[in-house]
């Protein structure tokens, strides 16, 4: 699977799972659908960005750092809009970014060189 598609799929799946865990927080249970949609959307955006980076930069360590940063940044935006829960939102978001960053570098197929 190419790196962008892998990032998109993985970001989306982890985003859904990330959102679903809100069900265990009673206060957030009522808005679970919105949380899952938002989390999935965030995961997809993070996944695509990380996938594009992985395609341009072939480095496991840089991929992990970039994934961590993108995941944390997108989660920070969500937390900022929520006016709170920074730790609870940013830590899992950063972790998802890290996993996607690692996976795209490690398992994503490198882009084929173009023929002249």
């Amino acid at each position: 699977m190419n790196k962008i598609v892998l990032g998109l799929v993985l970001g989306g799946i982890l985003g859904i799972l990330d959102g679903l865990t809100a069900w265990f927080t009673p206060a957030a249970r009522s808005g679970i659908v919105g949380i899952v949609i938002g989390s999935t959307f965030k995961g997809i955006i993070a996944g695509v960005l990380i996938g594009v980076f992985a395609r341009k930069v072939n480095s496991l360590s840089l991929g992990i750092i970039f994934g961590l940063a993108v995941g944390a940044f997108l989660a920070w935006i969500i937390a900022f809009m929520q006016h709170g829960y920074y730790f609870q939102i940013m830590l899992p978001g950063a972790m998802v970014g890290l996993i996607v960053g690692y996976a795209t570098q490690k398992y994503g197929a490198p882009s084929q060189p173009q023929r002249a």
Partner: protein, 340 residues
């Protein structure tokens, strides 16, 4: 009657064995070792000012048949231009009538000397590297037939060279001659002919049906039986498999820890299967299976169960598994704390 002292006899024997290099471009420097057909000397090439190895027929075994075989070895080596096969520079007859050929002098250690400093992973990678020149030789229709650790040299810079092609078989040329028998000792090859060998050796390939060539312990069953017609590249697969079995043992001969892993044992067993058809069809196939084993991929020689497959996948994706477990642990902790 007065006997000569042992020291004098030994000195005379050495003098007898020393090749007569007068009038040639070579100057003897050091005796390196003895093989099945002759001795190998370190000599100086006076024209090119470099040290080379000279393989010369032994004085006592200098027969026409062996001279033909030595020349065949030189011709085979000359055909096999590959970084993993020692190159031949010159061949001919010395003033004392003995046949010789001159080859690159490889400074290094034989596999059995070199292997002890390596871990199992490096050893397996070494087997893969031995397979490369072998595959090349097979593609040229040449079967080595005497693969053993003593015939693999590892150079000073880690380069791997396959030596001693004296028993090699040229597949393209078939031969029919009277039955003969030739057996090799473990370590150095010795020839014992128990029946009169026909003088009519095939022009290029002097192997006769019923002839037993090789080294016990590394010899394929079809070699032991003298089934010359059955010998093909899978005979060398057996030899390489025997070397694989050898490197999987420690100095005491006991299997090394990781060597007890079932897939690796299965690879060794498939390569050294008594039935030719049960072996890998080529040395590349064997090397590919070793590569898969080293990459934690399923090998063709072993059908793993669900548990083994899971363990292998976890091993192969250790970091990813740890990351996902860390994520799940973090999520569980969040859930536990949010309930309090």
């Amino acid at each position: 009657m007065k006997f000569l002292p042992d020291q004098v006899v030994a000195r005379l024997q050495t003098e007898m064995q020393t090749p007569d290099l007068s009038g040639t471009r070579y100057r003897a420097l050091k005796f390196l070792g003895r093989g099945g057909m002759g001795a190998v000397w370190l000599v100086e090439d006076a024209v090119l000012h470099r040290n080379v190895a000279l393989k010369v027929l032994s004085a006592e075994s200098s027969s026409a048949d062996l001279a033909v075989r030595l020349m065949l070895e030189a011709i085979i080596l000359a055909r096999l231009e590959h970084p993993g096969i020692v190159p031949v520079h010159d061949a001919g007859t010395l003033p004392d009538g003995r046949s010789f050929y001159c080859m690159k002098y490889v400074e290094g250690q034989t596999l059995d000397q070199y292997i002890h400093r390596l871990g199992l992973r490096q050893r397996l990678q070494l087997i893969q590297r031995i397979a490369e020149p072998l595959a090349f030789a097979h593609s040229r229709g040449i079967i080595h037939r005497d693969l053993k650790p003593e015939n693999i040299m590892v150079g000073a810079f880690g380069e791997v060279l396959i030596m001693d092609w004296g028993l090699a078989k040229v597949m393209a040329v078939s031969s029919v001659a009277a039955p003969a028998r030739q057996v090799s000792g473990h370590g150095s090859t010795r020839a014992v002919q128990d029946s009169a060998q026909s003088g009519a050796l095939a022009a290029e390939n002097p192997t006769a049906h019923g002839t037993v060539f090789g080294t016990p312990g590394y010899m394929a069953p079809e070699q032991e039986r003298g089934d010359v017609n059955l010998i093909d590249q899978r005979t060398d697969v057996f030899g390489l498999g025997s070397i694989l079995q050898y490197i999987m043992r420690d100095k005491s001969g006991a299997p090394r820890g990781e060597a007890l892993s079932r897939p690796l044992r299965a690879i060794g067993n498939k390569a050294t299967a008594a039935e030719i058809s049960a072996r890998y069809s080529s040395v590349q196939e064997l090397a590919a299976d070793l590569g898969k084993y080293l990459d934690d991929m399923p090998v063709s020689a072993y059908r793993e169960n669900l548990f083994e497959r899971t363990v292998r996948l976890v091993n192969r994706n250790r970091v990813a598994v740890v990351l996902v477990l860390a994520y799940l642990l973090m999520r569980m902790l969040f859930i536990l704390f949010s309930r309090k």
